[in-house]
């Protein structure tokens, strides 16, 4: 019994220590982003990497999600003769939930892993120490541009994913399910409100911050050699994915209106 309690205590304190380390890192990274100098070239590189280079994977995910959503909604709604609601369900599901969450998860896998691997390799090969000896704050140089780029580019990606996802639903509804194009588009915009889109983009921005933070944090604190970098990469993707799903629930509750 004592051994069992000891173990629980050990894991609890370990968890608290991890939360403390992550909070300190986040605080230092945010403070760093508010002071000069600002590394513009690093920032532009991250904008391209997180945004432009993630477009194909996010676009494809959104397209097929929109198409499947239209098919499944039709299957359900046709059972009680409510096929007309397919367009509304597709547009609301995509903008409020699916585009931000799925784009977040895809970018976590693509960009979060790459950030952790790159920064982790820099840590174990002493490149981060080299930055310090060259009078460059590693947090400002490596972490700040990634955090800001994540905050900005995820909403941009999700906005594009919204359009592509809705387009995917439209294609299936018109060419496979036989909907009238004019009616479908009318239904799509009729019940869509600006707050639906904005809520999705706010979620996306939060997820972008989480992805960059987890990638940078785990990479920055990686230890050992190749194994340490591999572990950091796995932790970055898993923690970002789990945090995206948890945060998504709380943001949905926060913005939920009956």
């Amino acid at each position: 019994m004592v051994i069992f309690l000891n173990r629980i205590g050990f894991y609890f304190f370990h968890f608290l220590a991890s939360v403390g380390r992550l909070s300190t890192f986040t605080f230092r990274a945010v403070v760093s982003s508010l002071t000069f100098p600002f590394y513009g070239r690093q920032f532009l590189k991250q904008l391209l990497d997180i945004g432009y280079n993630s477009l194909p994977v996010v676009g494809l995910t959104a397209l097929f999600t929109g198409m499947v959503l239209a098919l499944q909604s039709y299957t359900g709604f046709s059972r009680f003769s409510a096929e007309g609601a397919v367009a509304t369900v597709v547009v609301l599901s995509i903008t409020r939930e699916l585009a931000p969450v799925l784009a977040g998860l895809m970018v976590a896998g693509r960009v979060g892993a790459a950030m952790a691997a790159e920064i982790g390799t820099m840590r174990v090969t002493e490149q981060i120490d080299a930055l310090t000896t060259l009078s460059t704050n590693p947090l400002k140089y490596l972490v700040t541009p990634r955090l800001i780029a994540g905050l900005i580019m995820l909403p941009a990606l999700v906005f594009v994913a919204d359009i592509i996802g809705i387009f995917g639903g439209y294609i299936v509804s018109i060419y496979k399910l036989g909907f009238n194009p004019g009616n479908y588009l009318h239904q799509t915009v009729k019940y869509l409100e600006m707050r639906d889109i904005v809520l999705g983009l706010v979620k996306a921005s939060t997820f972008g911050f989480i992805i960059a933070l987890m990638g940078c944090y785990h990479g920055y604190n990686s230890k050992g050699g190749a194994q340490g970098v591999g572990l950091a990469t796995t932790r970055a993707v898993v923690s970002a994915s789990v945090l995206i799903l948890i945060t998504n629930y709380f943001l949905t509750v926060l913005f939920f209106d009956k």
Binding site: T125, E126, A130, L134, T136
Partner: protein
């Protein structure tokens, strides 16, 4: 140059301790290093050499009560602007080179000058091309990535980066590790030449005794976190200290335990 009582030390360590959990790695290191000298720390693996260097460079924080001064500034208690100013006088050549693999060779060399906006990108490129021949490299490597270079070439680029900002103090962490004997000798010669031209102070750590004899004015030996011997390189060969004798002659028997700890 060796110890001169009229010149204040450029690096002063007083009672520097560093522990990791129960492992006491540095045990009260007290040491003065004078301007213009080439000071070398020898010692076996795990003796605390790298930890000592990292504490001096601010990459690791020593334990409470330790004192470290660089160019007259207490880098543990001084104001951040003073410490920043003192640290700008320092550069380092890392054991694994630590070149930024996302940047080409020329940006690695001119990194500090670019970040501090002392040079624009065109000037920084020209500057790197001017530095490269001084470390025995042709200017056409400037546009290559560090991963496209051999180990010896990477070490030369790393040396070029270390001297590019004309530092007052340069740290060398195992500068010849992983190089063949000829390349090791070339790197040693380049270190001596560049340090002399800059008029800088060199602080090196190594367990390569050939390299130690080529680059050092004064040598200290670290054993289990304590400085057990300091002297000139001439004194090194005539010392009666059994630890030093065993180490420099590479003997498997003697007071230094050869069992893995």
């Amino acid at each position: 140059m060796t110890e001169n009582p009229n010149t204040p030390p450029i690096i002063r360590l007083k009672n520097v301790h560093k522990t990791f959990g129960k492992n006491h790695v540095l045990r009260g290191i007290t040491l003065d290093i004078y301007p213009g000298e080439s000071f070398l720390i020898i010692g076996g693996s795990g003796s605390g050499k790298s930890v000592l260097l990292k504490c001096i460079l601010g990459l690791m924080e020593p334990d409470e009560g330790s004192e470290i001064e660089i160019a007259g500034v207490d880098v543990l208690k001084g104001s951040s602007s003073e410490v920043e100013k003192a640290r700008r006088k320092v550069s380092m050549l890392f054991q694994g080179n630590a070149l930024f693999d996302s940047l080409p060779v020329w940006e690695n060399i001119s990194f500090l000058l670019l970040q501090t906006k002392r040079l624009n990108r065109k000037e920084a490129y020209d500057f790197a091309c001017k530095i490269l021949p001084t470390v025995g490299l042709k200017t056409d490597v400037a546009l290559l990535s560090p991963s496209e270079l051999s180990g010896g070439m990477q070490r030369r680029v790393s040396l070029a980066r270390a001297v590019a900002s004309t530092p007052e103090i340069i740290f060398f962490d195992e500068p010849t590790t992983g190089l063949d004997p000829i390349m090791a000798s070339v790197i040693d010669d380049l270190i001596v030449k560049n340090v002399k031209e800059l008029g800088a102070t060199a602080v090196s750590i190594t367990h390569d005794m050939n390299s130690a004899r080529r680059i050092a004015d004064r040598i200290a030996m670290l054993y289990h976190g304590e400085l057990i011997w300091i002297g000139t390189k001439e004194e090194l060969d005539h010392t009666n200290n059994p630890y030093v004798t065993q180490f420099i002659n590479g003997l498997s028997t003697g007071p230094i335990s050869t069992e893995a700890s």
